[in-house]
């Protein structure tokens, strides 16, 4: 076997090793003690796959490729080191979009290349090209809209307009008809460009009606799409490595999407199409239940009293939510917990699966503040503990602690699993005002006798609690 025969085999074998490294890496990402090595294994796999591909004999010019990779690596590295941990959802969102965009471009470029050489395009090639453009295009614009919402460039609330669903159906139908036409006559470029345009518009329409609190679902779904887009690109250029890696990512994204939907007790279709938390149907019910509560009283405390309750408690459970992320209060929270622990209070954190704007959002923020992860408890583990808890401290969370989810079947969040903070002996809620949560529902927890409201931004209030706890010493 000479070199020119060995090379293609060698490339394929390297792909096999790289694919195995991806699988091992993902497996190790599933356990805290091995996760970092898992990520490094996957990175090594990627490097191997890239080097092997550069040796492919169809790659003739290296200059532009290396230039492109250098530019990309620089931007990626700067972004990875600069990003604030609170901005991780946007970051993952935009990376998803870039991956999807790259996959769509590959499909377009491959089509263009074959067309310009005058080779005949088989039906199967055309099918995979159309699929690549559809999935890649939707991932690209969908992710950018998600980024805009998370970054606050676009309003976080759902954007709905009349005839939205019929329009979506029309666009999808148009894409199908266009695809069929394109497959019978691939030389009509206007149809080809039309397909690209529809895919991009579909991505926008897919994400704009979804509200901020449903973002964990959207981000994991787009993550899945970015994998599927890569797999589709793999079909286009006939490369197993892309197909395997894409399928792995697609599967992991679907698993996370599923976990997030379960965390809200809602189906994926409901999340994607209901316009949840908009000014539509849900606020009507919210309005009625809200006004029924309007004449109830709310008890508020000042930081001094709150600090006293916390310091003389035996056990405290902290429930962080999106409000903690927005205020970047995680470091102050850690400081408060250190103070309480040195006073002999047992402190734990309760993490709801959909707290924040992406899967595991709270865990990342608390890890950044050096909170050891064994102190974080999942919903199932902490819920039986609340009736033995003296104080539950809710920091910027709302719907995930609303007891109405348990008993009020007229509430839009009815059936959603919640953290049962109302079972603690007393509850302190840090919140900026009496505004409703993402679901638009008033929270009956705030009106209970043993609930104290501490009004203010999470960072200020936790900071004042820290100061007061210190003074008590």
């Amino acid at each position: 076997m000479n070199w020119s025969e060995f090379l293609p085999t060698g490339i394929q074998l390297s792909y096999l090793v790289a694919a195995s490294l991806f699988i091992l890496g993902l497996k190790q990402l599933g356990s805290p003690s091995t996760a970092r090595r898992g990520n490094q294994l996957a990175a090594v796999g990627m490097l191997l796959a890239v080097v092997a591909t550069l040796l492919d004999r169809s790659v003739l010019s290296y200059g532009t490729i290396f230039l492109g990779m250098a530019i990309g690596a620089m931007i990626g590295a700067v972004a990875a080191y600069q990003v604030e941990m609170t901005a991780m959802p946007q970051m993952v969102g935009i990376f998803n979009g870039l991956g999807g965009g790259a996959s769509a471009l590959i499909a377009i470029a491959e089509f263009w290349r074959v067309l310009s050489t005058g080779e005949p395009l088989s039906l199967t090639s055309l099918i995979v090209i159309v699929l690549g453009i559809l999935i890649g295009g939707v991932t690209l614009t969908g992710s950018f809209i998600a980024f805009g919402k998370l970054q606050g460039i676009l309003p976080g609330s759902p954007i709905v307009f009349p005839l939205q669903q019929p329009l979506n159906v029309l666009l999808l139908g148009g894409f199908l008809v266009g695809s069929v036409y394109f497959m019978t006559d691939p030389n009509t470029l206007s149809v080809f460009f039309g397909l690209i345009a529809i895919a991009l518009i579909l991505g926008v329409f897919f994400v704009i009606p979804i509200g901020g609190g449903d973002m964990p679902v959207v981000i994991s779904l787009l993550n899945s799409y970015s994998g599927l887009a890569a797999a589709a690109a793999g079909f286009v250029v006939n490369n197993n490595m892309l197909i395997i890696a894409g399928a792995l990512v697609g599967a992991s994204g679907i698993i996370l999407t599923n976990i997030m939907c379960k965390g809200m007790n809602r189906s994926l279709t409901n999340v994607l199409f209901a316009g949840f938390g908009s000014d539509g149907g849900s606020s009507a019910t919210a309005g009625s239940s809200g006004s029924a509560k309007a004449n109830q009283t709310v008890r508020s405390v000042d930081p001094e009293e709150g600090a006293m309750m916390l310091k003389y408690a035996r056990s405290v459970v902290i429930v962080p939510g999106y409000g903690m992320a927005v205020a970047q209060a995680q470091h102050s929270v850690k400081e408060l917990v250190d103070q309480l622990e040195s006073a002999g209070v047992e402190v734990r954190y309760a993490i709801h699966p959909v707290a924040g704007r992406m899967p595991g959002h709270m865990n990342v923020l608390l890890a950044e503040a050096n909170v050891p992860y064994p102190q974080l408890y999942d919903m199932e583990d902490i819920n039986p503990q609340f009736d033995k808890t003296d104080v539950a401290l809710v920091i910027g969370a709302n719907d995930v602690v609303n007891p109405a989810a348990r008993h009020d079947n007229s509430s839009p969040i009815y059936g959603m699993p919640i953290l049962e903070v109302d079972k603690a002996k007393s509850t302190i809620v840090i919140k900026r005002g009496m505004g409703t949560g993402f679901s638009g529902v008033q929270n009956e927890l705030f009106f209970e006798d043993k609930t104290m409201m501490l009004f203010g931004s999470a960072k200020d209030m936790v900071g004042q609690l820290v100061a007061e706890v210190k003074q008590l010493a």
């Binding site: 993902l26 990402l29 599933g30 356990s31 970092r36 898992g38 990520n39 490094q40 996957a42 990175a43 591909t53 550069l54 492919d56 003739l60 010019s61 532009t64 490729i65 492109g68 530019i71 990309g72 690596a73 931007i75 990626g76 590295a77 990875a80 080191y81 990003v83 970051m91 990376f95 998803n96 870039l98 991956g99 790259a102 590959i106 470029a109 310009s116 090639s125 995979v128 994991s220 993550n223 994998g227 890569a230 793999g234 079909f235 892309l242 197909i243 399928a247 792995l248 990512v249 697609g250 599967a251 992991s252 698993i255 996370l256 976990i259 595991g360 959002h361 050096n370 050891p372 064994p374």
Partner: protein
């Protein structure tokens, strides 16, 4: 692409998806974000396809599109792995 290669590729795709489901199924919530961003970096594998379509030697339109794809996918790969590593560095058990 012929129908036979399409079917072979479909086999690879479906089996890999099953592997993915099995491998990732039991991930603790603490690691959801790193898993997502790590998987996201892996989806940057599209860079391979981008290299293949952009490296044809001539500066054609498809090579230019491929080059843009190389840049986008490399951002995805490098940024994704680095930010995941940065996150995982923070997940430590309490010392002492």
């Amino acid at each position: 692409m012929t129908t036979a290669t399409l079917v072979t590729s479909l086999f690879v795709f479906v089996l890999a998806a099953f592997v993915g489901f099995e491998v990732i199924n039991k991930v603790p919530p603490t690691l959801h974000t790193p898993l997502m961003s790590g998987a996201n970096a892996i989806s940057g594998i599209a860079v391979l396809g981008a290299i293949l379509v952009s490296g044809t030697g001539n500066l054609t339109l498809s090579a230019i599109l491929g080059l843009i794809a190389v840049i986008l996918a490399t951002i995805n790969v490098v940024g994704g792995f680095l930010v995941t590593d940065r996150m995982l560095q923070m997940f430590k058990k309490k010392e002492a």
